[in-house]
Protein backbone atom coordinates (compact mmCIF):
# COMPACT_ATOMS: atom_id res chain seq x y z
CA UNK A 1 0.00 0.00 0.00
CA UNK A 2 1.45 3.42 -0.93
CA UNK A 3 1.92 6.14 1.71
CA UNK A 4 -0.98 8.14 0.25
CA UNK A 5 -3.30 5.15 0.20
CA UNK A 6 -2.32 4.25 3.77
CA UNK A 7 -3.06 7.78 4.93
CA UNK A 8 -6.38 7.87 3.07
CA UNK A 9 -7.38 4.54 4.62
CA UNK A 10 -6.35 5.79 8.07
CA UNK A 11 -8.34 9.04 7.73
CA UNK A 12 -11.38 7.10 6.58
CA UNK A 13 -11.23 4.69 9.53
CA UNK A 14 -10.49 7.47 12.02
CA UNK A 15 -13.43 9.46 10.73
CA UNK A 16 -15.74 6.45 10.94
CA UNK A 17 -14.70 5.79 14.55
CA UNK A 18 -14.20 9.38 15.73
CA UNK A 19 -16.73 8.81 18.53
CA UNK A 20 -14.11 6.68 20.25
CA UNK A 21 -11.74 9.66 20.42
CA UNK A 22 -14.43 12.02 21.72
CA UNK A 23 -15.63 9.44 24.27
CA UNK A 24 -12.14 8.79 25.63
CA UNK A 25 -11.23 12.49 25.80
CA UNK A 26 -14.58 13.26 27.48
CA UNK A 27 -13.94 10.57 30.08
CA UNK A 28 -10.40 11.67 30.96
CA UNK A 29 -10.36 15.47 30.54
CA UNK A 30 -12.66 18.07 32.02
CA UNK A 31 -11.71 21.12 30.01
CA UNK A 32 -11.91 21.68 26.27
CA UNK A 33 -8.26 22.56 25.75
CA UNK A 34 -7.06 19.33 27.40
CA UNK A 35 -9.59 17.35 25.34
CA UNK A 36 -8.19 18.84 22.12
CA UNK A 37 -4.58 18.14 23.22
CA UNK A 38 -5.42 14.58 24.14
CA UNK A 39 -7.32 14.04 20.86
CA UNK A 40 -4.21 15.16 18.96
CA UNK A 41 -1.97 12.87 21.01
CA UNK A 42 -4.31 9.92 20.43
CA UNK A 43 -4.48 10.61 16.69
CA UNK A 44 -0.68 10.83 16.48
CA UNK A 45 -0.25 7.51 18.28
CA UNK A 46 -2.93 5.84 16.17
CA UNK A 47 -1.14 7.02 13.05
CA UNK A 48 2.26 5.83 14.29
CA UNK A 49 0.82 2.39 15.11
CA UNK A 50 -1.37 2.12 11.99
CA UNK A 51 1.23 0.41 9.74
CA UNK A 52 1.27 -2.48 12.26
CA UNK A 53 -2.52 -2.75 12.47
CA UNK A 54 -3.70 -6.23 11.48
CA UNK A 55 -6.78 -5.75 9.32
CA UNK A 56 -8.10 -9.17 10.43
CA UNK A 57 -8.59 -7.76 13.94
CA UNK A 58 -11.37 -5.41 14.99
CA UNK A 59 -10.43 -1.80 14.27
CA UNK A 60 -12.52 -0.44 17.15
CA UNK A 61 -10.82 -2.75 19.70
CA UNK A 62 -7.41 -1.70 18.38
CA UNK A 63 -8.41 1.96 18.47
CA UNK A 64 -9.91 1.77 21.98
CA UNK A 65 -6.74 0.12 23.32
CA UNK A 66 -4.47 2.81 21.92
CA UNK A 67 -6.79 5.67 22.85
CA UNK A 68 -7.19 4.43 26.44
CA UNK A 69 -3.48 3.68 26.91
CA UNK A 70 -2.57 7.14 25.60
CA UNK A 71 -5.28 8.81 27.74
CA UNK A 72 -4.19 7.05 30.96
CA UNK A 73 -0.55 7.98 30.36
CA UNK A 74 -1.61 11.56 29.52
CA UNK A 75 -3.65 11.92 32.72
CA UNK A 76 -0.86 10.44 34.86
CA UNK A 77 1.70 12.81 33.35
CA UNK A 78 -0.69 15.74 33.83
CA UNK A 79 -1.30 14.70 37.45
CA UNK A 80 2.46 14.60 38.04
CA UNK A 81 2.85 18.09 36.50
CA UNK A 82 -0.09 19.40 38.54
CA UNK A 83 1.47 18.02 41.71
CA UNK A 84 4.19 20.61 41.33
CA UNK A 85 2.14 23.45 39.81
CA UNK A 86 -1.49 23.22 40.97
CA UNK A 87 -2.87 23.87 44.46
CA UNK A 88 -2.81 20.92 46.86
CA UNK A 89 -5.45 18.19 46.23
CA UNK A 90 -6.12 19.35 42.68
CA UNK A 91 -4.92 17.10 39.89
CA UNK A 92 -4.96 18.14 36.25
CA UNK A 93 -7.89 15.98 35.19
CA UNK A 94 -9.97 17.42 37.99
CA UNK A 95 -9.47 20.97 36.78
CA UNK A 96 -12.72 21.96 35.12
CA UNK A 97 -13.27 24.98 32.95
CA UNK A 98 -15.45 27.29 35.17
CA UNK A 99 -17.46 28.43 32.13
CA UNK A 100 -18.27 24.81 31.37
CA UNK A 101 -19.42 24.13 34.89
CA UNK A 102 -21.66 27.18 34.77
CA UNK A 103 -23.15 25.97 31.51
CA UNK A 104 -23.78 22.51 32.94
CA UNK A 105 -27.48 22.77 33.67
CA UNK A 106 -28.22 19.08 33.54
CA UNK A 107 -28.01 17.69 37.11
CA UNK A 108 -27.41 14.20 35.81
CA UNK A 109 -24.40 15.32 33.76
CA UNK A 110 -23.01 17.06 36.82
CA UNK A 111 -23.52 13.90 38.88
CA UNK A 112 -21.81 11.89 36.13
CA UNK A 113 -18.85 14.29 36.17
CA UNK A 114 -18.52 13.90 39.93
CA UNK A 115 -18.73 10.13 39.68
CA UNK A 116 -16.08 9.99 36.93
CA UNK A 117 -13.78 12.23 39.00
CA UNK A 118 -14.03 9.79 41.91
CA UNK A 119 -12.75 6.85 39.81
CA UNK A 120 -9.16 5.82 39.06
CA UNK A 121 -7.97 5.66 35.44
CA UNK A 122 -8.65 1.94 34.90
CA UNK A 123 -12.17 2.08 36.31
CA UNK A 124 -12.85 5.08 34.06
CA UNK A 125 -11.86 2.92 31.07
CA UNK A 126 -14.26 0.23 32.28
CA UNK A 127 -17.07 2.75 32.81
CA UNK A 128 -16.54 4.27 29.35
CA UNK A 129 -16.81 0.89 27.62
CA UNK A 130 -19.89 0.03 29.68
CA UNK A 131 -21.57 3.35 28.92
CA UNK A 132 -20.79 2.85 25.22
CA UNK A 133 -22.70 -0.45 25.53
CA UNK A 134 -19.90 -2.85 24.70
CA UNK A 135 -20.38 -6.52 25.50
CA UNK A 136 -18.50 -7.99 28.47
CA UNK A 137 -16.40 -9.96 26.00
CA UNK A 138 -15.42 -6.82 24.10
CA UNK A 139 -14.63 -4.95 27.34
CA UNK A 140 -12.50 -7.89 28.49
CA UNK A 141 -10.64 -7.86 25.17
CA UNK A 142 -9.86 -4.14 25.32
CA UNK A 143 -8.81 -4.17 28.97
CA UNK A 144 -7.07 -7.54 29.00
CA UNK A 145 -9.04 -9.01 31.93
CA UNK A 146 -11.49 -11.92 32.13
CA UNK A 147 -15.24 -11.55 31.41
CA UNK A 148 -15.96 -12.64 34.99
CA UNK A 149 -13.69 -9.89 36.23
CA UNK A 150 -15.56 -7.38 34.01
CA UNK A 151 -18.91 -8.49 35.47
CA UNK A 152 -17.59 -8.25 39.04
CA UNK A 153 -16.16 -4.79 38.47
CA UNK A 154 -19.32 -3.47 36.82
CA UNK A 155 -21.29 -4.76 39.79
CA UNK A 156 -18.95 -2.84 42.08
CA UNK A 157 -19.27 0.32 39.98
CA UNK A 158 -23.08 0.08 40.25
CA UNK A 159 -22.84 -0.30 44.01
CA UNK A 160 -20.38 2.54 44.28
CA UNK A 161 -22.67 4.80 42.23
CA UNK A 162 -25.62 3.99 44.48
CA UNK A 163 -23.49 4.72 47.54
CA UNK A 164 -22.18 7.96 46.04
CA UNK A 165 -25.53 9.33 44.94
CA UNK A 166 -27.37 8.07 47.99
CA UNK A 167 -30.09 6.01 46.38
Amino acid sequence: MTANALHARFVELLDRHRRIVSGVTGMYCRNAEDRRDLAQEISAQLWSAFPRYDSQASFSTWMYRIALNVAISYVRKAALRAKYTAPVNQSADDVADPREDAAERDDRVRALRRFIASLDELNRALLLLYLEEHSYRSIAEVLGISETNVATKIGRLKQRLLDTTGR
Partner: protein, 201 residues
Protein backbone atom coordinates in the same frame (compact mmCIF):
# COMPACT_ATOMS: atom_id res chain seq x y z
CA UNK B 1 -29.12 13.78 42.98
CA UNK B 2 -29.41 10.00 42.94
CA UNK B 3 -29.05 7.80 39.89
CA UNK B 4 -28.05 4.30 38.83
CA UNK B 5 -25.57 3.17 36.20
CA UNK B 6 -28.24 2.83 33.49
CA UNK B 7 -29.46 6.38 34.06
CA UNK B 8 -25.84 7.36 33.77
CA UNK B 9 -25.91 6.22 30.14
CA UNK B 10 -28.31 8.96 29.07
CA UNK B 11 -26.24 11.52 30.99
CA UNK B 12 -23.17 10.17 29.19
CA UNK B 13 -24.79 10.59 25.80
CA UNK B 14 -25.61 14.21 26.61
CA UNK B 15 -22.07 14.83 27.79
CA UNK B 16 -20.50 13.05 24.84
CA UNK B 17 -22.53 15.07 22.34
CA UNK B 18 -21.17 18.25 23.86
CA UNK B 19 -17.54 17.20 24.11
CA UNK B 20 -17.46 15.74 20.59
CA UNK B 21 -17.56 19.30 19.22
CA UNK B 22 -14.22 20.02 20.94
CA UNK B 23 -12.32 17.19 19.37
CA UNK B 24 -13.22 17.46 15.70
CA UNK B 25 -10.15 16.18 13.97
CA UNK B 26 -9.29 18.92 11.54
CA UNK B 27 -7.76 18.61 8.11
CA UNK B 28 -4.51 20.37 9.14
CA UNK B 29 -3.86 17.84 11.90
CA UNK B 30 -4.50 14.89 9.60
CA UNK B 31 -2.17 16.35 6.94
CA UNK B 32 0.48 16.96 9.55
CA UNK B 33 0.12 13.36 10.75
CA UNK B 34 0.79 12.17 7.23
CA UNK B 35 4.10 14.04 7.17
CA UNK B 36 5.13 13.15 10.70
CA UNK B 37 7.67 10.40 11.06
CA UNK B 38 6.01 7.58 12.95
CA UNK B 39 7.17 7.77 16.55
CA UNK B 40 5.90 5.05 18.80
CA UNK B 41 5.33 6.38 22.33
CA UNK B 42 6.84 3.35 24.05
CA UNK B 43 9.77 3.08 21.63
CA UNK B 44 10.48 6.71 22.42
CA UNK B 45 10.47 5.95 26.16
CA UNK B 46 13.34 3.46 25.79
CA UNK B 47 15.65 6.13 24.30
CA UNK B 48 16.71 7.54 27.67
CA UNK B 49 17.59 4.19 29.35
CA UNK B 50 19.33 3.10 26.12
CA UNK B 51 21.48 6.22 26.24
CA UNK B 52 22.19 5.65 29.95
CA UNK B 53 23.14 2.05 29.16
CA UNK B 54 25.70 3.12 26.56
CA UNK B 55 27.18 5.64 28.99
CA UNK B 56 27.27 3.10 31.85
CA UNK B 57 28.98 0.52 29.59
CA UNK B 58 31.66 3.07 28.73
CA UNK B 59 32.18 3.83 32.42
CA UNK B 60 32.24 0.10 33.25
CA UNK B 61 34.95 -0.50 30.64
CA UNK B 62 37.01 2.34 32.17
CA UNK B 63 36.58 1.05 35.76
CA UNK B 64 37.29 -2.50 34.54
CA UNK B 65 40.50 -1.32 32.91
CA UNK B 66 41.47 0.53 36.12
CA UNK B 67 40.79 -2.58 38.17
CA UNK B 68 42.89 -4.71 35.83
CA UNK B 69 45.81 -2.26 36.03
CA UNK B 70 45.72 -1.83 39.83
CA UNK B 71 44.46 -5.25 40.89
CA UNK B 72 47.42 -5.95 43.18
CA UNK B 73 47.45 -2.53 44.88
CA UNK B 74 44.82 -3.01 47.57
CA UNK B 75 44.21 0.68 48.28
CA UNK B 76 43.26 1.29 44.63
CA UNK B 77 41.75 -2.11 43.96
CA UNK B 78 39.18 -1.74 46.77
CA UNK B 79 38.01 1.64 45.40
CA UNK B 80 37.99 0.18 41.88
CA UNK B 81 35.93 -2.89 42.91
CA UNK B 82 33.35 -0.74 44.75
CA UNK B 83 32.93 1.63 41.81
CA UNK B 84 32.88 -1.16 39.22
CA UNK B 85 30.28 -3.10 41.21
CA UNK B 86 28.08 0.02 41.44
CA UNK B 87 28.31 0.60 37.67
CA UNK B 88 27.52 -3.07 36.95
CA UNK B 89 24.50 -2.83 39.27
CA UNK B 90 23.36 0.28 37.41
CA UNK B 91 23.77 -1.52 34.06
CA UNK B 92 21.62 -4.39 35.35
CA UNK B 93 18.90 -1.96 36.49
CA UNK B 94 18.97 -0.14 33.15
CA UNK B 95 18.72 -3.40 31.19
CA UNK B 96 15.71 -4.34 33.33
CA UNK B 97 14.04 -1.01 32.48
CA UNK B 98 14.53 -1.61 28.76
CA UNK B 99 13.31 -5.21 29.10
CA UNK B 100 10.09 -4.05 30.78
CA UNK B 101 9.17 -2.04 27.70
CA UNK B 102 10.60 -4.44 25.14
CA UNK B 103 7.91 -5.62 22.74
CA UNK B 104 5.16 -3.56 24.41
CA UNK B 105 3.13 -1.27 22.20
CA UNK B 106 0.16 0.96 22.82
CA UNK B 107 -2.24 -1.34 20.93
CA UNK B 108 -1.88 -4.02 23.62
CA UNK B 109 -4.59 -4.72 26.25
CA UNK B 110 -4.90 -1.75 28.62
CA UNK B 111 -3.99 -3.55 31.85
CA UNK B 112 -0.93 -5.23 30.25
CA UNK B 113 0.42 -1.98 28.81
CA UNK B 114 -0.30 0.01 31.96
CA UNK B 115 1.39 -2.69 34.03
CA UNK B 116 4.47 -2.46 31.77
CA UNK B 117 4.48 1.35 31.95
CA UNK B 118 4.02 1.53 35.72
CA UNK B 119 6.60 -1.24 36.28
CA UNK B 120 8.99 0.77 34.11
CA UNK B 121 8.23 3.94 36.12
CA UNK B 122 8.78 2.05 39.38
CA UNK B 123 12.07 0.56 38.08
CA UNK B 124 13.32 4.03 37.14
CA UNK B 125 12.32 5.34 40.56
CA UNK B 126 14.13 2.45 42.22
CA UNK B 127 17.26 3.13 40.17
CA UNK B 128 17.13 6.84 41.11
CA UNK B 129 16.64 5.88 44.76
CA UNK B 130 19.73 3.66 44.77
CA UNK B 131 21.82 6.26 42.97
CA UNK B 132 20.71 8.76 45.63
CA UNK B 133 21.50 6.41 48.52
CA UNK B 134 24.83 5.16 47.16
CA UNK B 135 26.21 8.44 45.81
CA UNK B 136 27.73 9.68 49.11
CA UNK B 137 29.32 6.25 49.61
CA UNK B 138 30.72 6.25 46.07
CA UNK B 139 32.15 9.73 46.20
CA UNK B 140 35.38 8.58 47.91
CA UNK B 141 36.12 5.63 45.56
CA UNK B 142 35.21 7.82 42.56
CA UNK B 143 37.74 10.45 43.58
CA UNK B 144 40.44 7.82 44.19
CA UNK B 145 39.83 6.09 40.85
CA UNK B 146 39.50 9.25 38.75
CA UNK B 147 42.54 10.90 40.33
CA UNK B 148 44.71 7.83 39.84
CA UNK B 149 43.27 6.62 36.53
CA UNK B 150 43.10 9.96 34.71
CA UNK B 151 45.60 12.21 36.46
CA UNK B 152 48.02 9.70 37.93
CA UNK B 153 47.53 11.22 41.42
CA UNK B 154 47.45 9.20 44.63
CA UNK B 155 44.65 10.64 46.79
CA UNK B 156 45.90 8.74 49.87
CA UNK B 157 49.24 10.50 49.63
CA UNK B 158 47.75 13.84 48.47
CA UNK B 159 45.11 14.29 51.20
CA UNK B 160 46.11 11.62 53.71
CA UNK B 161 44.42 8.40 54.83
CA UNK B 162 42.48 10.25 57.55
CA UNK B 163 40.83 12.50 54.95
CA UNK B 164 39.76 9.44 52.94
CA UNK B 165 38.44 7.73 56.09
CA UNK B 166 36.47 10.85 57.09
CA UNK B 167 34.90 11.01 53.62
CA UNK B 168 33.84 7.38 53.81
CA UNK B 169 32.46 8.02 57.33
CA UNK B 170 30.41 11.02 56.17
CA UNK B 171 29.07 8.92 53.29
CA UNK B 172 27.97 6.16 55.67
CA UNK B 173 26.41 8.71 58.06
CA UNK B 174 24.33 10.18 55.22
CA UNK B 175 22.79 6.86 54.19
CA UNK B 176 19.95 6.83 56.81
CA UNK B 177 18.99 10.39 55.82
CA UNK B 178 18.89 9.47 52.13
CA UNK B 179 16.88 6.32 52.87
CA UNK B 180 14.35 8.54 54.65
CA UNK B 181 14.26 10.93 51.65
CA UNK B 182 13.82 8.02 49.24
CA UNK B 183 10.55 7.01 50.93
CA UNK B 184 8.89 9.48 48.59
CA UNK B 185 9.37 6.92 45.82
CA UNK B 186 6.92 4.51 47.41
CA UNK B 187 4.03 6.15 45.54
CA UNK B 188 5.36 4.84 42.23
CA UNK B 189 5.27 1.30 43.61
CA UNK B 190 1.70 1.84 44.82
CA UNK B 191 0.58 2.73 41.27
CA UNK B 192 1.99 -0.61 40.11
CA UNK B 193 0.08 -2.46 42.84
CA UNK B 194 -3.14 -0.70 41.75
CA UNK B 195 -2.79 -1.93 38.15
CA UNK B 196 -1.92 -5.45 39.29
CA UNK B 197 -4.92 -5.66 41.62
CA UNK B 198 -7.28 -4.33 38.90
CA UNK B 199 -6.20 -7.14 36.56
CA UNK B 200 -6.28 -9.81 39.28
CA UNK B 201 -9.55 -9.37 41.12
Amino acid sequence: MSMDLDELKSAWQALEQRVSADVKLNRELLTELKLRKARNAIGWLTCLPALELVLALLIASATGRFLFTHFFEAKFAIAGVVLHAAVVLYIAMTIRQIALLWGADMSGPVTAIQRALTAYGAARMRATKWVLILSPLLWGPLLIVVAKGWLGLDVYRLFGVVWVAVNVGIGIAMVPLLIWVSRRFRKALKALDDVKSFARE
